[in-house]
Symmetry: D2
Amino acid sequence: MTVRVGLIGAGVMGGDHARILSTAVNGAWLAAVSDADASRARAIADAYGATTFPDADELIADDSVEAVIVASPDPTHKALVLACLEAEKPVLCEKPLGVTTGECLEIVGKETELGKRLVQVGFMRRFDPGYTAMKATLDSGDLGRGLILHCVHRNQTSASYSTSEGVIANSAVHEIDIARWMFGEEVVRITVIVPRQSAHAGMQDPQIILMHMAGGAVVDIEAYLNCQYGYDVRGELVCESGTAELTPPHGITLRRSGQEGFGHPEDWRPRFTDAYRIELQAWINSVTGGPLAGASAWDGYAATAVAEAGIASLKTGTSADVRLEAKPGLYDA
Amino acid sequence: MTVRVGLIGAGVMGGDHARILSTAVNGAWLAAVSDADASRARAIADAYGATTFPDADELIADDSVEAVIVASPDPTHKALVLACLEAEKPVLCEKPLGVTTGECLEIVGKETELGKRLVQVGFMRRFDPGYTAMKATLDSGDLGRGLILHCVHRNQTSASYSTSEGVIANSAVHEIDIARWMFGEEVVRITVIVPRQSAHAGMQDPQIILMHMAGGAVVDIEAYLNCQYGYDVRGELVCESGTAELTPPHGITLRRSGQEGFGHPEDWRPRFTDAYRIELQAWINSVTGGPLAGASAWDGYAATAVAEAGIASLKTGTSADVRLEAKPGLYDA
Amino acid sequence: MTVRVGLIGAGVMGGDHARILSTAVNGAWLAAVSDADASRARAIADAYGATTFPDADELIADDSVEAVIVASPDPTHKALVLACLEAEKPVLCEKPLGVTTGECLEIVGKETELGKRLVQVGFMRRFDPGYTAMKATLDSGDLGRGLILHCVHRNQTSASYSTSEGVIANSAVHEIDIARWMFGEEVVRITVIVPRQSAHAGMQDPQIILMHMAGGAVVDIEAYLNCQYGYDVRGELVCESGTAELTPPHGITLRRSGQEGFGHPEDWRPRFTDAYRIELQAWINSVTGGPLAGASAWDGYAATAVAEAGIASLKTGTSADVRLEAKPGLYDA
Amino acid sequence: MTVRVGLIGAGVMGGDHARILSTAVNGAWLAAVSDADASRARAIADAYGATTFPDADELIADDSVEAVIVASPDPTHKALVLACLEAEKPVLCEKPLGVTTGECLEIVGKETELGKRLVQVGFMRRFDPGYTAMKATLDSGDLGRGLILHCVHRNQTSASYSTSEGVIANSAVHEIDIARWMFGEEVVRITVIVPRQSAHAGMQDPQIILMHMAGGAVVDIEAYLNCQYGYDVRGELVCESGTAELTPPHGITLRRSGQEGFGHPEDWRPRFTDAYRIELQAWINSVTGGPLAGASAWDGYAATAVAEAGIASLKTGTSADVRLEAKPGLYDA
């Protein structure tokens, strides 16, 4: 009953997945690791009793591997996911599914051809207890229809290689996925508003991103990668009869040095510890016959398409319509 | 040393002002009341030992009145304020100063001619302890420059006579004033975004209103007059090194019936009890030689001008530039 | 209609009362100031347009003074209050009413003899919006009967002259008064529990003080004068069907340097700004014919009696019964 | 590497353990179930692919079982744990370890004789993220030494068979364990204080329980089994330079019907979902060679001894000293 998982990519995210899979997920076993840097692969393999593969394709093809996690650099995702589809093995691919909509569509096409869903995209927030409680509240109908979703996405500082486009494509893309998932609708228009830049950012940061959903709801996102104080994700869903707001998780409140409050972590991983664990468990469950969970290849494509439109809006200073391909029936709920 | 105040308008706001002035403000005495409905004026006058005037202009002119509060219906404001200027008596005029920019400019012109400031507009939020703490934080420079101001303005239910335009002109106008005051800058552009309407609203409600300030900061406002759950005003100022957020005041937290939390009032008055009291005290202080405080006639004009541009944006579906007249030197800080 | 107030004691509390009375209370005028240190009296008198009296008794007797605030050192309270009673002038006496139960009983006796209540003791917490909301909740019956009142009373650091006994008599005495007021009952037994001392305290600090009320409710108090992080007063009333907890007032929440939260002040005055203002207003109202408000001479006596029993408990390490004299009918509600 | 677990007791707790072990813990497999009610055992066994044993002792002895969870009625614990020790199999026993200190000491004696620790007692709160963060704060020394631990333990309603003694032995025993674990010290004295009873409780409820720790810290516990509003556990550790307080976990804040807040569950299981999962994972880890974790048999004994002293205090109305046997070296850290 234990799923033998192969991991491609032994960086920060890969290492986290390996650890969570090996210490906190039921029914999984890390069987194999591959990384362009063999020593990184070796370190993880040794820690959890896996074998290493010098070549990712070999790992995918090997009989000892039943399911694959792709956590390698973004530009490698498409080919690796296609190889998994070729081998008909379930794959959990870190976001983004592909670096262009074209890449994503190749995967969607291939999976549609196969006629069965094997790809899950690592939009882990769908498994965060706060977001799932928010969606459960919306779906219950207790508060009426959703009208607005306010989002705040703040990082302490951005990486040196960050760009104004990346604020949308790498960061706000999480909110793009959450918006689609929350409302069960596509984004039809996106507008990027630019306040003056922070002196701490060498790019357009922060940004305010507005999205119109197909059903008329509006989503606004403050994406701010250099807020200095910590990693902080907030959200409030405004409905016809009330609102539901994410509460930042924190086990304790401290009172010291004149202040009462709680801490924000330096990066996103502590904030989404539960989400990553539950995501991996749900994926393993789906591999062993449980229901499909998480974002599909279509979701990965749609998120990239919205982000591309957002970048166009950023560049032109006007709204951009989002035009998606026709959705294959495979992805109907 | 006690200021003899005349009140014009004995409705809800007028009654509140009379009560606060007579029970919680130092150095003031309610000397006179006037209202189109003589019995309403009589009731307030009796309660606080004032005399009544059948005619508002007579009240303004009477020697027993040193300073005037205008809390009568909006369309009467302009003429009454002009009469106060004519009589050279300080006047606290409930917002709006005038129902059009034209009316406001008449007052600005008249006051400029006089060469001294006598008009305070009743944007009471400038005296709210939360907003003043937020502004003090910004002005201290501790958090760097302000980049974004997020605002939420929710009413439980809108009045039967409310309109989509009124969401901007009557409600969000408070945030328009706060934004100008917070940043010490004019609004240069305004864009109104329309989510789908709440089923509880017979108009475009909620609305998202975006404003660009002259210095590049962006202000977004959720104005929602039928949120059902209560009156709720929120705000977060996002700066280069941190943020400051209004905390809704509530003396106690209740735990009962499965819930832990606090209540929101049905209307704005409990939320801004302190603001009204402090506003009146500051006004009385200014009348007796203290520093000018609160919004000036220019502020009243500018808020109306921004609201008018907002209504244009609502109607056209595009952004609208805000073009103000040249600001008379009288209103320089 | 303006009450001419004489202030005895021009220290920190006296200065605060003078300022609040002169800038934020309706219907009052600071007419006279007296202090053993003539220059301190002079400074306050000049600031607010009052005259000075070298001798407190003269101030009390003078016709220009209609009501008196006693904010001088504790040992002077009794004689000054008695002088006010002699002159039949209303007096607001800072706590404690007297430094012993004997002193308090002299005042109670004198006032009873007069047959009318002229003394209010400055237990200002009774006017704090949080405490009044808590009591209103209890009195409404919505949560059933009160069973337990948890109290926390923390100061940043204690004064150099503080003593283990003073933790009870000077600090926890506020909670003693609040407990009596909240439940409308006397304290019948008190027990002081001593945890190990903080290294920051040169005395028994913190202490846990337990009180049984006549009706069976229990009150526990953490009194901690050297908590280091700031002045913090908390309280939770536990009832049969729910609880009500004080929310520390704070206008804004800050996010910076990895933390989200709000500040605690260095001393009690910012925390109880509203309480002091409302207390003074209520006292002025009572002087001009409004209802009596605040703690009576009897309450001042009872609080001192409970504190004395608490000190006995601290010394013996066992519980101490509280035995009060018979309550004169004058003090029945 | 997968541990084959046998479960004894298929009631609420047993069912929860089976589910968590089978769906959220790494490296474990539910191999066997036994219950006096064969159909209950059958239901769980079927759900997770386990076999059933009509007799608990047979389950313990069977080679297919490597480690045992005891979740059967309290009076059966001692004999079952002894049988596990006899079979030299690791056992996770739900609290209490035994229903008397005598029973607990039998187990301690047997384990000491064996010379190795095989028993973990199910005080799951030691694994709650809030409590572990609190302890980490204390152990870091950042706030100085701990002086007081305030605890609140509230249940919505008590079971029909609850007793005044059970408030201590079944409910507050969790805080007894947490206090010992937090400070790393034994309890030396316990005092139970009785407020008037809630009309909703047919027994002495609530109770206030005071404990002196060996090092001088004081712990107070409000144990209240009929608070009506929900299950709520709170705690604040008061140190020399600040405090750390548990934050009740809640993914979202709701605003509706005039209220803003979050919900409390009806019983303890949602509150301690994480604690149970982490407890089981830590236990499984310890079975496969990881470090021992959780409460030992000695801890189980000490908690029972303190509870017995607490019951004595409840009955006599005075403090009771806690006298423990000499602690075998096996249980030194």
